[in-house]
């Protein structure tokens, strides 16, 4: 039996299953089966890879048994750890987990490049260039994703910023590209310390590039690194003459790039702006004072008013998930629906920590996806709503983004909640949002504040509505 034929046909089938799986993942109805289809592609490709053992390099033959043992151990540990951590992680922590797994992929691509380079196995300018470039991008994705993970996980709180930072980073990138060019120019035959310095600097660059970026922008960065890893994998696929890596890597590279652009657009920022401008560092003085005061209301009263409304729109934010109030919220929604109140959810594209993250969190609580609306589909409906309730959201509902040119978030599309007849804002205290911007909505005439932990507020609202009795 011809092993090469078997390997190649397995990869062909795997590439097909990946694309077909991704396609199915792009609709809510078939998404679940999509990931399963792609999963089978992965199993097939990994199993087929063990056929490599039948035909390894002359130099590697004496080490074959050791290498197989190492491969099995590495597979078992990597798989076992990731499987367990993936099963355990809470839905709110999903973004940092995706960042972590993505960084690992980037690291694997960099490792392939490192082996090819230190073993002097790559020949030809194109192969060598792609090996170097893939290694560079992969290493940046690895250390950058780790920083993104640490930041979202609350392990790193500060942001590293100094005035010359962009200059330092620019020089660092220039040095990296020069070393890369040097390696390519010498056909890859340079002493190993050059490679070591190259990869070490690439890792440092990933850290330096990510450190100045604030938590609110992290989703865009994760998505960007996801695209980076895809590209790195595609390039290393060329070096290894492996079409499965080339296709899967490039599909993810382009899909990830588009997703990054979509996310940045939803925040009304360019990707360059996210990467190179120190968002969140702006001072408060630029904003000016907001007139008016915050008017508190009792949770129970707010609940009863919602019960007698005919249309209620809910604008949830990450604070909802932090308070673990999704389930109680859905209970409240069901009560309102029984009282013939029309209830809809309005989701800002960057609600949660990633686009679509809020949808995942609501889905976890059992909220059906057909009462959940994207911003552009529901923004015209706020003026017809009797009550809008904002839970744990802040910047995404700030009308200053439409009106106040001096606001740091000016121009960002926001939910037009302030146009509703009555707005309730459920909020822990009088603090500012994730980006540190003061919110004009809280001071508006038609806004009342419900202070407290979101979950407790939901419970009070539910109790107040239930105490009215079942009369319709």
């Amino acid at each position: 039996m011809n092993a090469a034929l078997l390997i190649d046909s397995s990869y062909f089938l795997a590439a097909f299953l990946f694309i077909y799986g991704l396609k199915r993942m792009s609709s809510p109805l078939t998404a679940r089966s999509g990931i399963v289809v792609a999963g089978w592609g992965m199993v097939l490709a990994v199993l087929a890879s063990f056929l490599y053992t039948l035909d390894v390099n002359e130099a590697a033959k004496p080490h074959l048994n050791t290498n197989i043992a190492l491969a099995l151990i590495a597979l078992a540990f990597g798989l076992g750890w990731a499987w367990r951590s993936g099963k355990k992680v809470a839905m709110t922590e999903m973004p940092q987990m995706v960042a972590l797994y993505n960084g690992m992929g980037g690291g694997a691509a960099a490792a392939i490049a490192a082996i090819e380079l230190i073993g002097y196995k790559t020949h030809g300018t194109v192969s060598l260039s792609l090996a170097v470039l893939g290694g560079l991008i992969g290493a940046i994705a690895l250390s950058g994703s780790l920083i993104a993970w640490a930041k979202l996980d609350g392990r790193i709180n500060g942001t590293l910023r100094f005035s010359a930072l962009q200059l330092v980073n620019g020089s660092l990138l220039l040095v990296l590209l020069s070393i890369g060019a040097y390696i390519i120019w010498h056909g890859g035959s340079v002493a190993w310390p050059v490679f070591a310095v190259f990869f070490a600097l690439a890792l440092i660059y990933g850290v330096m590039m990510t450190m100045p970026i604030g938590g609110a922008d992290m989703p865009v960065v994760i998505s960007l690194y996801n695209a980076f890893t895809g590209l790195a994998v595609g390039f290393e696929g060329y070096v290894l003459n492996n079409p499965a890596l080339m296709i899967a890597g490039m599909v993810v590279g382009s899909a990830g790039s588009l997703l990054t652009l979509l996310m940045a657009k939803a925040m009304n920022r360019s990707v360059a702006n996210v990467l190179f401008s120190n968002f969140g560092a702006t001072s408060d003085e630029a904003e000016g004072e907001i007139a008016g005061s915050q008017k508190p209301i009792d949770a129970g009263d707010a609940g009863i008013n919602m019960r007698y409304a005919s249309k209620v729109i809910i604008a949830p934010g990450y604070g909802l998930a932090v308070a673990q109030a999704q389930h109680k919220l859905f209970e409240l929604v069901k009560l309102l629906q029984e009282a013939d109140v029309e209830v809809k959810f309005a989701i800002h594209p960057v609600a949660g920590r990633m686009p679509g993250h809020m949808n995942v969190l609501l889905a976890e609580a059992g909220v059906p996806y057909d009462i959940i609306y994207d911003m552009e589909d529901i923004n015209d409906e706020f003026k017809d709503a009797d009550v809008v309730i904002v839970i744990g959201a802040n910047d995404t509902v700030n009308p200053a983004a439409r009106t106040n040119k001096s606001s740091p978030i000016y121009g960002m599309p926001v939910l037009n909640v302030d146009m509703a007849k009555q707005v309730y804002v459920v909020k822990r205290g009088q603090g500012k949002g994730y980006s540190g911007v003061e919110n004009a909505l809280f001071y508006a005439d038609n806004t009342q504040m419900v202070y407290g932990d979101a979950q407790k507020v939901m419970v009070s609202m539910i109790q107040a509505i239930k105490s009215l009795g079942g009369g319709h």
Binding site: N67, G78, A82, I112, N242
Partner: protein, 104 residues
């Protein structure tokens, strides 16, 4: 049977890259925002295929440094693939329509 692996080089490789890039672009371009997070996670899983490349590199390693780096590569790649799969599957499992079936 007489079969040898085709070396994908030059324009053949370029064609593969181009078509794959368009495929990724087309698939994501039509996705509703509610699926962006699972899809990012799903594409994250798919580049876990890098584990296959790392396996090849490790199996062909002929020195200690290569074995160490290869080991790390397979470890990381396996983590990417398995972790990506588990979290994506968990997320997608939760998406359910309401009692009445939605009309798309």
């Amino acid at each position: 049977m007489d079969y040898t692996t085709t070396i994908l080089t030059g324009f053949v490789a370029l064609y593969i890259f181009m078509l794959a890039a368009f495929t990724g672009f087309e698939i994501i371009g039509r996705v509703p925002a509610i699926l962006h997070t699972p899809l990012m996670s799903g594409s994250n899983f798919i580049h876990g295929i890098v584990v296959v490349g790392a396996l090849w590199a490790l199996l062909n390693a002929s020195s200690l440094p290569e074995q160490i780096i290869g080991f790390l590569g397979v470890l990381l790649g396996a983590g990417n693939a398995a972790g990506g799969y588990v979290v994506t599957e968990r997320m997608l499992q939760m998406f359910k329509p309401s009692t009445k079936t939605p009309k798309e």
